[in-house]
């Protein structure tokens, strides 16, 4: 498959900007480090030519930005969406959170994005620059004279390794080849592994993971399913208000409540785990719900179709009983 | 029902993929069956008897070699029971046993006339022998 290059995107962006199709472009801008990219709006061709970045660290899911960015702007925004982003985008359309007419979607094919922590594990700390070369990522650290090469395969983010679909479920235009859904991606492997443990082992596992939470709210802030006008955790009347670490219930329950809130709506984009500074595998909570939904109520992929009825706002008279959940698994 | 029999019953049900409990005893399978008059036990009886574990008489009956596998009962059954598949499962339960081939190669020469398409022989072997 042809790799998407920065030039392919910038030329598309500039031409759409020039012919008036769009009035702004949602893209990536360099942050503090070359691997630390910030989603940002570009309004001029010059800005794009100078500052638009596209490399293997463009993992951020743009769909959520569109909820707010499309407000108060004249004309359309051009958004480059990877296959996984299009699912989130569709889900937001389903929930009426984005006005479709305000967005010009250019689907870009994706072979998987890199994960800086995986690279760091190979090269060690002190990364000063990374460049994307044909044979891999050239990583320069402040401790080494020569850059180290990390293969794309070794650098690939966990969520991309078990990518559920390379297919764009929504776009106006496509750059690169259209891919396929990948039903054999084994994304529930780790969930199944946990399910096979004893309750004590599971408890120990989750306690170990969740104990590291510093309640920075990054997972919530990045989650494309979390676009509430007012989050329950910020709402004093919700009974779950809790903005900062405390010893109270809301804190411990934060991740469970959050996972339940997005259950049936989560497209499994994996952003929560990507941004977690403590590397808590939060996607394993969401995937548990997805796996359960698939087994209990039939395959359902949030965002696959606009307007689909999410499993939690639906039912059949023959649904299994909560008590049967465990019988069925033979546990 | 003794144990051996209930195992066999379960095996036949599993092999056929048929759920005999879906039958509502309308008899449309038997009304439809072109081989009805050749059979000692009729399609609806296959369903009923398998459900009740009365397998011996079925397995001994020549009825299992009379089903034409025309699938008319399968298509016309209002409940999707698929009696023909049960007949086949009972027949397989018989001919898979040692020495129970219903048709043996030595039976063939005298019955073949020269126009008979080999399709008939091939099919008969698949139906009557393992």
């Amino acid at each position: 498959m042809q790799r998407i290059t920065r030039e392919m995107l910038t030329s598309k962006a500039i031409s759409l900007l020039n012919d008036g199709t769009v009035s702004a472009v949602l893209g990536w801008r360099e942050g503090e480090f070359s691997y630390d990219l910030t989603p940002s709006l570009f309004y001029t061709a010059e800005d794009i030519e100078q500052n638009f970045v596209f490399n293997d660290f463009c993992g951020a899911n743009f769909s959520k930005y569109l909820v707010t960015k499309t407000l108060g702007i004249e004309g359309k925004i051009l958004a480059f969406l990877k296959p996984c982003d299009t699912y989130s985008f569709n889900q937001l359309l389903t929930e009426h959170r984005i006005d479709r007419s305000k967005v010009y979607v250019v689907g870009i094919s994706c072979d998987g994005m890199a994960d800086i922590s995986k690279i760091r594990a190979i090269t060690g700390d002190g990364i000063s620059s990374i460049s994307c070369e044909p044979d891999g990522l050239k990583v320069q650290t402040i401790y080494d004279d020569e850059p180290k090469t990390v293969s794309y395969e070794d650098a690939m983010a966990e969520r991309c390794i078990c990518c559920k679909s390379k297919k764009h479920v929504c776009y106006d235009e496509l750059i690169g080849e259209e891919g396929e859904e990948n039903p054999d991606c084994n994304r529930f492997g780790k969930v199944a592994e946990l399910e096979a443990m004893t309750p004590d082992e599971r408890f120990a596992f989750w306690r170990g993971e969740l104990s590291r939470c510093i309640r920075c709210n990054a997972c919530r802030d990045v989650c494309p399913a979390c676009t509430c006008e007012k989050c329950v955790f910020n709402n004093p009347n919700s009974g779950a208000e809790n903005k900062a670490p405390a010893t109270s219930f809301e804190e411990q329950m934060f991740h469970i409540i959050r996972a339940f809130h997005v259950a049936g709506r989560c497209t499994d984009c994996g952003e929560c785990s990507r941004v977690c500074p403590q590397h808590i595998p939060l996607h394993l909570l969401n995937r548990k719900f997805i796996k359960d939904i698939n087994t209990f109520y039939g395959e359902y992929q949030a965002g696959k179709e606009v307007g689909s009825r999410a499993p939690l706002v639906d039912y059949t008279t023959g649904d299994l009983e909560p008590g049967q959940v465990f019988e069925r698994e033979g546990m | 029902m003794d144990n051996k029999n209930s195992n066999l019953q379960a095996e036949i049900v599993r092999m056929s993929g048929v759920n005999p409990r879906k039958c509502m005893r309308c008899g449309k399978c038997s009304a439809t069956c072109p081989a009805y008059d050749e059979m000692e036990y009729h399609p609806h009886q296959f369903v009923y008897m398998v459900e009740n574990g009365e397998l011996e008489p079925l397995m001994k009956s020549k009825s299992i070699y009379k089903c034409l596998t025309c699938f008319a009962c399968v298509d016309r059954c209002p409940r999707g029971v698929e009696p023909a598949k049960l007949v086949e499962a009972v027949r397989l339960a018989v001919i898979r046993q040692q020495g129970k081939n219903h048709l043996k190669p030595e039976d063939i020469p005298p019955i073949v006339d020269e126009d008979l398409p080999q399709q008939a022989i091939v099919t008969a072997f698949r139906k009557y022998a393992k």
Partner: protein, 144 residues
């Protein structure tokens, strides 16, 4: 009844139309069940937010049970069907986190099933009592 010093705290959410009435019937018929069962009345089992269940656990409940009308008999026609899905998923998640599955339960109980209500509460209390105090949810975050 077994003599047990430890009395687990059980919170029961009962829908107004079937289960709360069933609990009343249990009372009318003087069918006893442990006093550590405390009932909260909700209009329909579908009013029970998973947060309520978690809150109860966090505040010290040892078991939480939801009671609603039998499927197909919901006063609001479909409320308990939503409950069924929500709680199936929530309980499965709690189990996934290592919280004993015996601590959570959904039971359908009609206004005529006073005896079933009492029996359910007896069984559930006993099952929870056998587990001992609920520490896990509170402890989930705090590594020793």
């Amino acid at each position: 009844m077994q003599v047990n010093e430890y009395k687990p705290l059980i919170v029961a959410f009962c829908c107004n139309w079937c289960s709360y009435a069933g609990a009343d019937l249990a009372g009318n018929n003087r069918l006893s069940y442990p006093d550590n069962v405390k009932i909260i009345r909700v209009p329909c089992s579908c009013r029970v937010n998973p947060m309520f269940v978690l809150r109860a656990f966090q505040r010290g409940a040892d078991g939480v049970i939801l009671c609603g009308c039998h499927p197909g008999d919901c006063h609001y026609t479909s409320g308990n069907y939503y409950t069924r899905r929500r709680m199936a998923l929530l309980f499965s998640m709690l189990d996934y986190l290592g919280i004993e599955r015996e601590r959570t339960r959904v039971e359908w109980c009609s206004a005529a099933e006073g005896a079933k209500f009492a029996q359910t509460m007896n069984e559930f209390t006993e099952a929870v009592a056998a587990l001992g105090e609920n520490k896990r949810l509170e402890d989930l975050r705090c590594k020793e």
